[in-house]
């Protein structure tokens, strides 16, 4: 066999580097993040300090948890647009019920709509096969409606942010945001769940090929219902964290986080078509978006220009990331 001529050439350094990164997609993503932070530092020398890092983490955490909901649902080929409404509902109910109720009771009441909406989403998607986008959009409309009706019943009683949420939302321990006490376990749990549990496996399998999963004995509706309930629960908890951070209960509190949460998951390498992705990338994706928002806030330019820049940077980051990790 004289096939030396067609044997692949000795691998160049650049190619090896590329392959290295392709095997560890998190690294290029983190590099992109560092580049953004560096740009920020150049534009405003001194901004990247301990306090800034803590603030960035505070805002990235709720986004990252909601993006976790998107990651999990996107793995099955779905999406959860109701997370914004669910988070808002939990936050609003918590802030208003705490006035007259025991904290534990208020917490349960706040989580109730989350579970309910998640369950309805799950049944709709899993049993009735409604497209997740429509299903979650529908339940989020319905949820918003109920929240507004509810809101009128509590105008008189006012609202209050419980101290422990305050502590969680804005407090620092040795310079680290307390929100990390919530986030680190949640993140570890999600990563562990996706990689090392049967349920995580099923999310990927169902999103990749539902029929194959079925033939392996997987009951689609069980997986999907559990998934959407879990997603809603996480969203509800995020709402509580977020109200502790923002400290102003409003009826649209967490809505602005919905599109960015989808974007964070996608930037982090999760495919919206299902079967592909992971949570660690999503976390970096959320950080990238948060830093980008800061970057644009401090830029002195017309709002229109800012948005144009934001759009192009998101596109560029995603494209660059794809280029780096794809090994063809």
């Amino acid at each position: 066999m004289t096939d030396i001529a067609t044997m692949p050439q000795p691998v160049s350094f650049g190619r090896r580097l590329k392959r290295f990164m392709a095997d560890r997609p998190l690294i290029p993503l983190i590099i992109l993040l560092i580049i953004l932070v560096a740009i920020l530092q150049v534009l405003r020398p001194g901004i990247v300090n301990e306090r800034w890092i803590a603030n960035t983490a505070k805002f990235a955490i709720p986004l990252a948890i909601l993006a976790g909901c998107q990651t999990m649902t996107m793995l099955t080929g779905g999406i959860d647009l109701s997370v914004g409404t669910v988070a808002t509902m939990s936050a609003f109910i918590m802030a208003t019920q705490i006035v007259n109720q025991d904290p534990a009771v208020a917490f349960l009441l706040a989580m109730l709509p989350a579970v309910l909406i998640g369950f309805v989403n799950g049944i709709g998607v899993g049993v009735f096969r409604v497209h997740p986008l429509i299903m979650t959009l529908g339940t989020s409309l319905i949820g918003t409606g109920f929240l507004q009706v509810y809101q009128r019943t509590v105008i008189a009683s006012g609202a209050k942010i419980p101290d422990f949420l305050n502590w969680l939302g804005i407090g620092l321990t040795y310079g680290f945001p307390n929100a990390l006490f919530l986030f680190v376990p949640v993140a570890v749990l999600i990563v562990f769940m996706l990689n090392r549990t049967g349920f995580g496996r099923l999310l990927y399998a169902v999103g990749d090929n539902e029929r194959a999963a079925r033939l392996s004995g997987v009951r689609y509706w069980q997986v999907i219902t559990a998934l959407y309930v879990l997603s809603s629960l996480l969203a509800g908890i995020t709402g509580l964290l977020y109200i502790g951070l923002i400290k102003a209960p409003s009826l649209s509190l967490a809505e602005p986080l919905v599109l960015p949460s989808v974007a964070a998951a996608v930037i982090g390498g999760t495919s919206i078509f299902g079967g592909r992705g992971g949570y660690t990338g999503t976390i970096v994706g959320a950080l990238i978006l948060t830093v980008l928002t800061t970057l644009l806030t401090i830029l002195q330019m017309p709002e229109g220009g800012r948005r144009i820049l934001f759009g192009f940077i998101v596109l560029f980051v995603t494209a660059a990331y794809l280029r780096i990790i794809e090994d063809r």
Partner: protein
């Protein structure tokens, strides 16, 4: 470096073709030279690179290296459309009709003339095609035939058929072979990929053999050449053991003699009519049928995929009702579909695919015991000799290796009964032997196998008993000793037992001349 345009200069001449997928070299040094008017076999074990070569020749993927001459000229074939213009038309291993368009629109999309297409479809043995049917609703076998007819209709100079017959029942396969041979007679060339030696001997003039991505030889097809081809294909991996079907009455039926699976008067719409049979422990029962006789539905019903409209199924003597495949799995019945796309999560790893059933039930949703899983999975991989060089994603495995994963899953899960629907579809000779052996071993362990196949050879090779289905009914059941090809064929056509097959291209192949019979 110009090739001398002799009268018999090749129509298509590829040399030094290489293609890498990351670390996997799909092709290293492949060459192929096809003369005008010849039917040229392209052979090789699973994963040898046959499909990859076809894709490169037809512009579906780009080669990393190599030179391709068409009629002595170096054309730049970058897209399937360009290949078409150059007169190269493929039928790929996977159906390529657009699933959501009807057949007519599919023709318009590719600019295929309709009347010739219709004529070819009739010729290929489908008299009553509804051309407005959406491709998605056309059964796989018919879809393959339509793919072929579409290619034939534009009268290509070189037709490339990648395992065209693998998914076809015997009657359709035979038609295809006839048509392909006539292509050669008409002066057009055909590149023909198949793992079935009968077809190769009946059809081809020469064969190019690939091993591990490189061309290892070109031979003329003549009686007795099969041995040599197998040697070239498999290199050192030559298996010469003949898997003998168990002699009648050999080995006692395990346990109390109750059948493992007992089907009575099974009814399913118009597709299944009063089907009854038993499957014993430690038995491999073959199901033989022409295309569309209800075998798909039978397997689906036993697997819990669809609910029968009447009749009963007993497992170990107890009646069962399956409303979901998980019920069947619970009862120890596993189903291996013929279409691997139906069975595999293509973007997931080999390991995850094999371990998938372990996590199915909610009580198994918790943490996975990775080490235990690793042991079980690698055991199954070893048993089926899956080539796991590209195991990160199943879709990167070659077609045959994907097929093996679908079986390995149930070996790992230790299922008591396996329903195999054409499991050797598109599997190379070496591996086929492995699978036969495996099925026999399973039976030896007291497991039971229901085995549908589109190849008569296999029935004789592995089964203890054959159940022949025609028109949704069991028309005959006989022990393997009586199951010669003639008997099978006649039964499959619903004819009484004991007549002879004397029609069709395969009838001309002398029994015993195939490599498989010799190996």
């Amino acid at each position: 470096m110009t090739t001398n345009p002799l009268p018999q200069s090749p129509l298509l001449d590829a040399t030094g073709v290489a293609k890498n997928y990351g670390a996997v070299a799909a092709l290293r040094n492949a060459s192929l030279s096809v003369l005008p008017g010849e039917v040229h076999a392209l052979m090789g074990a699973n994963g040898a690179g046959k499909s990859t070569l076809v894709k490169i020749l037809t512009g579906a993927i780009k080669a990393d290296a190599g030179r391709i001459l068409i009629r002595g000229q170096q054309l730049d074939v970058r897209t399937p459309a360009a290949a078409r213009r150059a007169g190269l038309l493929p039928v790929y291993q996977e159906p390529s009709l657009i699933p959501d368009l009807d057949v007519l629109s599919n023709l318009r999309l590719t600019g295929t003339p309709v009347e010739p297409f219709r004529a070819w479809v009739r010729e290929l043995g489908i008299p009553d095609l509804d051309i407005r049917e959406t491709a998605r609703h056309v059964p796989l076998a018919i879809l393959r035939v339509l793919d072929l007819a579409r290619a034939l209709a534009v009268e290509p100079d070189v037709l490339l058929l990648d395992e065209m017959t693998a998914a076809l029942p015997a009657n359709l396969a035979e038609k295809v072979l006839e048509v392909v041979r006539r292509q050669g007679d008409a002066g057009r060339s055909v590149i023909f990929i198949s793992h079935r030696f009968v077809e190769i001997s009946a059809l081809c003039d020469r064969a190019t053999v690939l091993r591990d991505g490189a061309t290892v030889g070109v031979v003329d097809i003549e009686p007795g050449i099969e041995e040599r081809i197998v040697e070239m294909m498999l290199g050192t991996r030559i298996e010469k053991t003949r898997v003998a079907a168990r002699a009648a009455n050999e080995g006692a039926v395990a346990g109390d003699g109750r059948p493992r699976l007992s089907v009575r008067n099974l009814q399913l719409g118009t597709k299944l009519n009063d089907v009854s049979f038993d499957l014993a422990n430690g038995e491999v029962a073959g199901v033989f049928a022409l295309e569309g006789q209800g075998q798909d539905e039978l397997f689906a019903a036993l697997a819990g995929s669809i609910r029968p409209t009447g009749g009963s199924i007993d497992v170990d003597g107890a009646p069962v009702k399956f409303s979901h495949p998980s019920d069947a799995i619970q009862a120890g019945i596993a189903y291996v579909p013929g279409d691997r796309a139906e069975a595999l999560a293509m973007q997931r790893s080999v390991r995850e695919n094999i371990a998938l059933p372990f996590s199915a039930a909610p009580r198994k949703w918790g943490p996975i015991r990775m080490r235990r899983e690793q042991v079980v999975v690698s055991g199954a991989i070893g048993r089926l000799q899956i080539d796991t060089r590209a195991q990160g994603e199943v879709q990167r495995l070659s077609g045959g290796n994907q097929q093996k994963v679908t079986i390995a899953r149930w070996i790992a899960a230790n299922a008591r009964t396996i329903l195999c629907f054409d499991p050797t579809r598109g599997i190379d000779v070496g591996t086929k032997q492995e699978i036969y052996k495996l099925l026999r071993e399973l039976a030896g362990q007291g497991k039971s196998v229901l085995f549908y196949t589109s190849e008569m050879e296999e029935v004789q090779r592995v089964c203890d008993r054959v159940i022949v289905i025609f028109g949704g009914r069991v028309v005959d059941t006989f022990p393997v000793e009586d199951a010669d090809e003639a008997a099978l064929m006649r039964a499959a056509y619903g004819l009484p037992r004991g007549a002879r097959a004397d029609v069709g291209i395969l009838a001309e192949v002398k029994p015993g001349s195939s490599a498989e019979a010799a190996s």
